[in-house]
Symmetry: C2
Subunit: 198 residues, 2 copies
């Protein structure tokens, strides 16, 4: 940003949107999702809270915008959970690989996951992103009492796929064709989601 | 280390062991496992190569010593692969949880995995540790043509367990009793190791 530091409340100027986003990003990193309010973000950006809502919608929407993801995970997940629950595992794997096997969409996600596995504040940000954006769709799709438990088991397989295939680049899983990954890991995810508790 | 910097070759003084280890750690980090030689480590520490062998054995032994792990993974893995291959998955999980659920043994391993997932040189060091120390036991235990493929699939589940349970601390898998983790993930690891290729 060039020009003087804003003083007091402002209208919808050229930099207002990006000022709000910068204030939001800083607040989510410092105070977490629960500790961030639209009101405080607005005050920090020097604008009216109504303008934050106008530009970015709900706090969830604002959080998602602050992440600057290369794809909208809600669109991806809405496609995944639609259809037969008996094939949810393979559908999740295919959608996941579609996003992660493309270097252009993978790189920003790699940064998010690396920061999340390294410590705070990245951990809370990644946890919030997973719980509010990804897991919420799966727990809605799995009609079982222990949906959270099942989804956290799924997370253990998906995080490990990220770790082995994209971060550590362990062969041969790093170069395995996507359909082979689906054939091996799809049944695992399916079992975690819908099989009887062992 | 206090005192003057060593010049030329030295005998087995008080600091010699730790000098060799420091030289080895630096070489493995800078040049990787393949690029490190006992001869070069010895030269860097100002000792005779025979002394390196005398103190630390083979290059594998020296690498393991340089990692300063809280447990010897070869002892753990030797116990895991002994017994019925049909229950190898649950045995691996139980041994893994025995080490990782104890904060004292977990902390140095967390550092190793974090560095490995973050980039070089940690990535090569973790990859070498896994391949030469952990995977070697499993590929020996699985008498199948595609043992490397199967072991890399196992790694994807185990790395994800580390990520979800210990790094991200995602609930409820973070607080799940060990035997429940074994009941859910044991069959996954077993399938990756011994089930027919899907």
């Amino acid at each position: 940003m060039t020009g003087p530091v804003p003083r007091g409340r402002r209208g919808a100027g050229a930099d207002t949107r990006s000022d709000i986003l910068a204030a939001a990003r800083s607040s989510f990193a410092d105070r977490g999702f629960a500790g961030t309010t639209i009101r405080a973000v607005a005050a920090s950006a020097g604008v009216d809270p109504a303008l934050v809502h106008h530009f970015y919608g709900t706090k969830d929407d604002l959080f998602l915008a602050a992440l600057e993801l290369p794809v909208d995970p809600r669109t991806v997940m809405a496609g995944v959970v639609e259809g037969d629950p008996a094939t949810l595992g393979p559908r999740l794997l295919r959608a996941f690989l579609g996003v992660w096997d493309d270097p252009e969409t993978r790189l920003p996600l790699v940064a998010l996951v690396r920061a999340g596995l390294t410590g705070e504040p990245g951990r809370t940000i990644l946890e919030t992103a997973l719980k509010r954006i990804v897991f919420a769709f799966l727990t809605g799709a799995v009609e079982l009492d222990d949906a959270e438990r099942r989804v956290s088991l799924v997370a253990s397989q998906m995080l490990g796929l990220i770790g082995a295939r994209y971060l550590l680049r362990l062969e041969p899983i790093a170069s395995m064709p996507a359909e082979e990954v689906v054939a091996w890991l799809g049944p695992t995810v399916q079992r975690y989601l819908t099989a009887p508790t062992p």
